[in-house]
Amino acid sequence: MANPYLNTVYWAAATVLFIIITSLISGASARFVVKIRGGTKKLQERAFAGYLFAAPWVVGFLIFVLIPMVLSLYWSFNKVEPLKPVIWVGLKNYLDLFGDSDFKYAFLNSLFITVIGLPLQIGAALILALLLSQKLRGMRLFRVAFYMPVVLGLNSAVLLCWGLMFNANNGIVTQIIQGLGQIFVPFNWLDRLFIYINELISAAFLGFQSGRYKILQNVISAGFPAADRVPLWLQSPLWTKTSLIILLIWSCGTMMIFYLAALNNVPQEIYEAAEVDGANAWQRFWNVTWPLITPYTFYNLIVGMIAIIQLFNEPYVLFYNTPTVAQSAQSVVYYLYINTFRFNRMGYGSAISWFLLIVIMFITLIQFRLQNRWVQYDLR
């Protein structure tokens, strides 16, 4: 193999040349079209400049988005493997997809994380934003601290550290929980309650996923966790999704900042009026703040849902070495990765891609509709 750096530098230079040429061509042809239609000289110049400058995106859209999408639509009706002829199979890929228990499992995993994890993530973001919106010194520093995981959290390096911390036997998280439980007994009760609730919910859900509730019976018959029980983070299918949810809560910084901006937009006068009416803190929050920031909550909800369907780095790094528990934490995109790039099922992968695309478009469309509704009563 030739020097990979030079190879890419050459290609980058060729790409720049390609972009310049296509930009000039598209600008010139736009000018030509306007000229034929009898546009003024000025309009011709504007068309030339506009298409000249916009061409990089337009060309990129054609090459890297539109053509791949059309091809993948075609491939989703074929059996496709690299370096092999394409074989038409009709709807088989889609039928397989809907009959595929693993895909269903992965999809339900994403659903579980959405239903349980997303409210927790949004709740954490809202609480932090409420706390940080107090007019006190040093809030800026805290804001930076809570935002840090957004920048670092997706990197495999940091996720590996979570893997180390989450070791169920002697990881630091376990040791801290045990230590705190010994010093402070109510904490131990809290810990056990948390374990119990988590395992009940997870077991019920795993039962729902597999159609067999033995695992739930096990948890129930084991009763309230003993004092020395610890969470099993990455070891047990009852805990893998919980670990991912904790990572989500940890990196709620984006949502928090967004809420902060929302809170900033709430006019001071309304609070004063509410206070005059004798509303207490909770009433002020529930009757004034919450309704005014619901649009932002909706937005966080939608963006969060899409992010959870696309979850890849976290399950990959935490579970690629423990394939026997990986299944319980697989997201749709992780499933897509395994099926397509390990087994070379490109046709099937195309079908999954289109399914993914449609689901996310559906969610996004809802977002746009909701947004249209609230943009009108934007406060200023």
Partner: protein
Amino acid sequence: MSALRRPTDHGIVPLIIRERKGFKLFPFLWKILLYLVLLVGAAITLFPLFWMISTSFKTEAESNASRIIWLPHQVQLDAYKAILANKDFLIAYANSIFVTIIALLGTVITIALVAYAFSRIEWPGRNLVFFLMLSTMMIPTQSLAVPQYMIFLKFKWVGTFNPIVIPGFFAGGAAMIFLLRQFMAQIPKELDEAALMDGATHLQIWYYVIMPLCRPAIATISAILFVGIWNSLLYPLIFLTSTKLYTLPIFVTTLYNPQMPSQPWPTIMSASVLTALPLLIIFFFAQRYLIESIVLTGSKG
């Protein structure tokens, strides 16, 4: 653009508790409690970072001890020596830097060009193209991975850096174009009109008038793109089929070898610290821009 305002520049509305006249103890206690909660929260949030750094200076036995060792008994530099002597790590580091810089340059420049077209020039079909661009934000990038893989396979690009780097050259990232467009649209129109009168071309206006005014916005999108490219895992996993091309996020995962009875955690964590270092530096300089940009992108539509 009400959301453009920075939360810190304005008095923030106290939302739940407001100072009551004549009763001074309560706000004081409240303040203490608030700080306490925030301190604990921040400690938990930053803990993985601390643990990563701390572990990287430990011995292997300390990193896997059965009791808590907050800080290494004696600071060990062996892990750093080992990782810096690892040729593959250095190659991965160079790969990451190379990929990030080339992709960043190409992406930022073309995004600036396209944002200029969308904000400073009125051309027939602009609204249509702009709407098209906004609608591509709906397309999850992962759903394009499969067809792109097949296409790049035909190009013989799989197994090179090109699939990671080149697509960015076509103004990759609709959200970033949007962000910059919003910023550019705020610049008074009179500026370029005057320049046009003087006979300047659009390219000159873009370079000499608009770009200097857009520096904060450019810094913002550069920081966002940097973080995105530096952290990306899926595309490198798919396209960088040779271990010599691995970028850092893939490389660090290979340090954990499940076949071995014990894992060299200090070495893994020292690699992690070095991997996270550029992120920390970027974060240190650009956190304000990063945080602002969320407010900007959040208020789109």
